[in-house]
Symmetry: C2
Subunit: 492 residues, 2 copies
């Protein structure tokens, strides 16, 4: 592409777009609002899926699959949920195309195939799933139901950004059913912990666990728990949500069970999800002006090996040695790639893999071969060193671990430095507008105040942290009494 | 459910429905034509996916994701493809719901959100993918592109059968782009071999590899390769297809490349897919009147361990021993489940796991514990034996291998016995109507003859086997000269 590469400082948003393009992660499609996830981007998503899927199964969940389409009559049943998503729904009205009599070679929706009841393309699956659970649950013995679904969902969106906001996206949605309120809340909290664990220990992104205010709650939830991460522009990104749905869906879909005492009760529900938005977070937290930086645990290729040579004889000798090293690395479970393309120069390859964020690069030339040495470079710090090629496996393994923890610590350090406790409105505005970070401030607990602050600064309450200490203070806007601080920030 | 259990002989179709229900594989949903894949059914599908995904990656393919929606204008471009699928297309016409002014609490498609161009829910993704490839391909250096997608697709369908024919289904679709015809054909054939390998060595289903006739070809393909399996009612089920698409899509979407000589050419294409239909094949080939039989390699649980006890002290001792055995089995990579539910009797558990087709059942009571023995039962043969509990791991491992190969051989034997070489019309009709199997017969190569035979017998040409020997004969219907036999059968 012929554009000039911009830095984060120059234009963060354009930097993001260029990076997604250059690292070949995703691109816009011919369908307004929908993206194409390219093989390299999808490979990172697959690694995320595989870790999360194991975490879900380890906590007792099974996968299942429910229909893409939700009949309008079902979709309407939980009113708040329906109202919350109505404006973003793609609607199927016909089930057949036919030749357009007025335009040869063109097709049209066949008027005779008009559906008597429109179908909504799922924006989320509570309605269709709770309508199904109704038939699965009679007694307390049928509970809990612990199910997850990997699926595509559609929430119509005009102003799209790759991974962050698209009309169609990929996600997982857990939907569980419980006999008691306590058990459902415990599940909601457990899954939030799973998400936090994943964010911190795999994505290397520190997150704040908290509760959403009523304004920001999932439509139909009693309580929405979330994890919030800080991007390099100081904005927040909601990385995952876990909802305690109370008995709202059970009541809307008439899902009851007989408890141990023989009494009929409504079932308690949770739902929880993360999506391809996580790709956006991964990109924005770690990457630099040279391109993507991927934490080793999620990198499709953890180590790329690049041969350097002039003559054909050199080529073969160097590549043989690299293949040998690659095999050893593979044996220790490391994902490696020997870039032995003869069509590209080493400099081109260095730049390409740098853009794609491969954590460790090993390069070897004829002189290294002679000296039994190899050059190892880290993507995150851009440091290079010549090391003995014997014992390289252990060194690479340690280096990957080091990169993983360094990325986390760097992000944590950034998040802490950009988090400000503020007590005055001027300081608040200064943090949001100039310092660009999280403003931890007292708030009077009122939705109107929250709205007003949003109007004035574009900042919203990202969450009420779960580990908040209670303290007396004054609302940063109104001066009214408050018992705790909440986190304000601009957000994606 | 209160229905009376039927056998395969009594009513094969009802037997299938009951089995899918009783084994908790899938069920009909509130959405006409769409199914819910239940956790146990989905777990089998996940095992299939995991094996296939590895096979695709081992043959050089990467996964990616393309949009669910296809703008009508793109969908129309490859005319044969569009014509072939037009009658089955769900069409999105609106992108918003609003409160229905005439019906309080109800929603309606907002007339102001009418799309200027309708969106087709993908029935298959050639159009959207080739429209994307156009931008990825300039030079021969950009080729081949070897991509697979795991996705849901929608082909409107009124007369549905779980797994076999549903409006929405899950599948994988490979879409590859090549510089030469030869390479594309090689790819088409390679992926057919992958499917046959999977069917035979994992699903334990013998298949016939062949070519479809023009009548049965994929809309837009030059040549459709397929694998066909025989179900226990003698009908054929198409288990996978691999299409050589020629340059049809490249031409429709204007996808060209500069070859090594600098000349501009159209790109050559393939596509290939298998779907949740495979679940139908798996069920129909191996299962019996007691329920599902799952080949060990795809079984979510390969071994179930069931404790038998009267008193509490016995319970603990037996379960401890079974846990110990289960751990040993797990260590050798076997998927096990100890069914230690105290709410159900052993007889209930035996029946439940039999219905779900778990390949091996181990049962232990207090007397077994004393004798260091255990009862091992095979699901496929329903044989039982008391064996020493020491060394059970090796025995179970061997037994699972044995079951896997026995299932294949039994299915192969059945397929061979029900395959008849016929030379007269009477024999042909007898095979199709009474003997219920595959009729291997001469055919004059004419589409009209094929149509006529279908009208008369409901049998279609399932394929022209790839390994066909050429021989002179007479068309079974018309008596005209023919050079080879083809396979006729009724089919799903």
């Amino acid at each position: 592409m012929a554009f000039e590469k911009v830095t984060r400082d120059e234009n963060y948003s354009e930097w993001y777009n260029q990076l997604v393009y250059n690292a070949e992660l995703a691109e816009h499609s011919a369908v307004k609002g929908s993206m194409v996830i390219k093989p390299y981007g999808y490979a990172i998503w697959e690694n995320m899926q595989s870790v999360l899927d194991k975490m879900f199964k380890d906590t007792g969940h099974s996968n299942a699959y429910f229909p893409l389409f939700v009949p309008k009559g079902l979709f309407e049943k939980e009113e708040k949920n329906a109202e919350g998503f109505a404006k973003e729904c793609a609607v199927v009205t016909h089930y057949r195309l036919k030749a357009d009599p007025e335009k040869p070679g063109k097709l049209m929706a066949d008027p005779d195939s008009r559906l008597t009841e429109e179908l909504v393309v799922r924006p989320t699956s509570e309605a269709i799933i709770w309508n199904t659970y109704k038939n699965w649950i009679q007694s307390y013995r049928d509970l809990p139901i612990l199910i997850n679904q990997w699926a595509n969902v559609v929430r119509w969106e005009m102003r799209t950004r790759l991974f962050l906001r698209t009309a169609e996206f990929l996600w997982q949605e857990g939907h569980t059913a419980h006999a008691t309120k306590e058990e459902a809340i415990k599940e909601t909290e457990q899954m939030l912990d799973v998400y936090a664990d994943f964010a911190e220990n795999y994505m290397a992104i520190p997150v704040i666990k908290g509760l959403k205010t009523a304004n920001e709650r999932f439509a139909g939830a009693e309580e929405t728990y979330c994890i919030e991460g800080m991007m390099q522009d100081g904005k927040a990104l909601q990385m995952g949500t876990s909802h305690f749905l109370g008995q709202n869906f059970a009541k809307a879909f008439d899902v009851t069970f007989q408890n141990k005492e023989g009494k009929v009760e409504s079932v308690w529900a949770t739902s929880w999800g993360v999506s391809t938005r996580l790709m956006g977070a991964l990109i924005m937290v770690h990457s630099d002006d040279e391109g993507l930086v991927v934490p080793p645990k999620l990198a499709p290729t953890q180590v790329v090996l690049i041969p350097i040579y002039r003559k054909d004889g050199e080529r073969e000798a160097v590549i043989n040695k690299l293949d040998e090293i690659a095999d050893k690395l593979k044996q220790t479970g490391i994902r490696v790639k020997v870039d032995d393309r003869d069509t590209h120069k080493p400099g081109f390859k260095f730049a390409e893999w740098e853009q794609k964020g491969v954590p460790v690069r090993l390069a070897m030339g004829p002189r290294d071969l002679q000296n039994d040495s190899i050059e190892m470079a880290r993507r995150d710090t851009k440091t290079k060193e010549i090391v003995p090629s014997a014992g390289i496996s252990d060194l690479v393994k340690d280096t990957l671990d080091q990169i993983q923890s360094d990325l986390y610590n760097k992000a944590l350090d950034f998040q802490q430095k950009r988090t400000y406790h503020v007590d005055t409105w001027d300081d608040f505005v200064d943090v949001i507008d100039n310092k660009q970070g999280f403003a931890v401030a007292h708030w009077n607990g009122n939705s109107e105040t929250e709205e007003k602050i949003k109007e004035l600064t574009k900042a919203t309450i990202r969450c009420i942290p779960l580990d908040n200490k209670q303290e007396n203070g004054k609302c940063v806007l109104t001066g009214e009494p408050s018992t705790q601080r909440v986190i304000f920030a601009k957000s994606y």
